[in-house]
Point group: C2
Chain length 351, copies 2
């Protein structure tokens, strides 16, 4: 298009601000720093794809938390129009609106593949619109970090009693569930977590997965790495201010959607790849790490607490109930298919 | 852009054929008919996204096999330039070039998630370029149909001996493996498969998965539905003629890539969603269907035969060996991560 404008200029023609080739400058606020593993590249990739696809008609400027100072304020930024676009995870706004949680992760809920299928073809997208319309936000999926680990524990968990009074750093819904089964939930700033775990201020820390965890070093001081139950998926999102979005011509609206999709594919694969690589590295360097899963009575107690919290919330809010029912109904079918296809394949062919 | 051209026309300006806004007409040949479950919509979605993103500067015309008559001739069509783009699966060209197989599915190989991570970040894309450069084809991933079922069997398979002489319809590499363990492989046209299974001309038929299988009715006459081993993934591809691709401006090249990506996301979710829905429907209507997995000795025999065939081919062709080694090395790491993350989550939280 720039070449074409030069041709026009040669004819002595200038373009009015309303012409189809107007350039739109979009400001993007990211929850994660540029240096965060896996997620740090997503906003950059979005900018690259948007600018290439639009041949420069869309320009994206990215602000990271070091600049905007509010990693969990992205919803308000985009709602209020301070930023046109936000890169974040829906469930960070659970305190503001419990319904946002369903689009990132639900304890004992859907895996990344199941969640995305529900979203695209099982009514999830329409339910998400019901949630975000009141914030004047249009949402695009931006990739999934996959099943999270259950966290690093200094001692083995052999029964529900071992959780009573245990000092665990686990945020969000997972933390609420752990509190209900008797654990003591701590909120300690990231920079102090290692020391807190080493000193015994906390007995356990739930973070993410090997690619994210390794840099923080928890594996050096807590040898039990528990498998996950609290975040079977980790779907991230682009929030787009509706007024900004609606004033774009149709092809540039499609560019936003396509770019989000490319980021999502990249992020899905990047998360998986990096976790596989870091897990191999971690095991090689620290062969004493032991992977454990919670015993059945612990899983049952966590599931019961999780279901109770979900049902309590559903009793208060019809939209929460509508989304919960929709996810539970699809999960029942989805898991039956998962079990006889990919799950069975892995179970029967992996030594 | 069309509005803009109208503005130009009002100024009495016409565009030369070489201007940046030239329209490119692309012919696309699809392996699958428009009516094929799941896959039949992919080419249509590609056309829709390409034309929207390019604001009409790219136009796509789709030909289905009912027109071009050669569902498995897509590689030659695109290589020769009769078609600019092909929508197909790489492994259909295994007879022409064994290396094409690695990018769709390998028995006992990677799942869809593992394969895509290897492709994007583990060197897979570069190896695919080595394979397809000689055909003047640029390849874009177009979505995965997921883990296939092992097929419909009229009798239970209790040991390797039960496979000896068993008449199975199973094409491709899976068929070669089954032949090596003693089965008799039949190639019967699709339209005759149901009758052949009913009459006992064949004892078993491997097709795809519930969304694809249900319409063919095999579940009415063969009650054992075996879990899969032969196609843990089912990655489809867009082939693009390199000369066509290289003459496009950078933003339209990016449009092709972005559209392929959107099709891939759609197809991944659509396959999963439809399989979940059809499996629920099939079980409800035919409660006698029994899901089985091959016993360990059968799995061991199939894996041994598969590895032998792969190693024989690797001994003949250094590029085959390079790709096989790369996939095996990544799979070893990838599966360890899969096991402690999503697999463990499903295993420990699903009743």
């Amino acid at each position: 298009m720039k070449k074409f404008l030069a041709v026009l200029a040669a004819f002595g023609l200038a373009l009015s601000a309303n012409a189809a080739d107007k350039t739109y400058k979009l400001k993007l606020a990211s929850t994660w720093e540029s240096t965060t593993p896996v997620l740090g590249d997503a906003a950059k990739e979005f900018k690259r794809v948007v600018e290439t696809l639009s041949d420069g008609r869309l320009e994206v400027r990215i602000d990271y938390p070091s600049k905007h100072k509010s990693p969990f304020g992205i919803l308000d930024f985009v709602k209020g129009g301070q930023y046109d676009i936000g890169y974040t995870a829906s469930y960070y706004y659970k305190g503001k609106d419990a319904n946002t949680m369903f689009f990132t992760a639900v304890p004992f809920g859907m895996t990344a593949t199941e969640l995305r299928a529900w979203y695209e073809f099982g009514g999830g997208k329409q339910l998400e619109e019901k949630v975000y319309d009141k914030y004047n936000i249009k949402v695009f999926l931006a990739g999934d970090t996959g099943t999270q680990m259950g966290g690093w524990f200094k001692k083995e968990i052999k029964s529900v009693d071992d959780l009573k009074g245990l000092k665990i750093r686990i945020p969000g819904f997972g933390g609420e569930v752990m509190a209900r089964v008797g654990a003591t939930i701590n909120t300690i700033p990231t920079g102090e977590l290692y020391m807190a775990l080493e000193m015994g201020t906390i007995d356990s820390v739930e973070w993410v997965s090997p690619a994210f965890d390794m840099g923080l070093g928890f594996h050096k001081i807590a040898k039990y790495y528990y498998t996950g139950w609290q975040e079977p998926s980790g779907q991230t999102q682009f929030f787009v201010n509706k007024k900004t979005y609606e004033k774009l011509p149709a092809d540039l609206q499609a560019v936003i959607e396509a770019a989000a999709n490319e980021v999502a594919s990249m992020l899905n694969s990047r998360s998986f790849f990096d976790n596989a690589e870091y897990w191999a590295k971690m095991k090689a360097e620290y062969p004493d790490i032991e992977v454990r899963s919670f015993p059945q009575d612990v899983m049952d107690a966590l599931r019961k607490a999780s279901d109770e919290i979900l049902d309590e919330e559903a009793a208060k809010d019809p939209l929460f109930k509508e989304i919960l029912d929709s996810q539970r109904a699809f999960l029942a079918k989805a898991r039956e298919w998962t079990k006889i296809s990919e799950f069975s394949y892995i179970q029967k062919t992996t030594k």
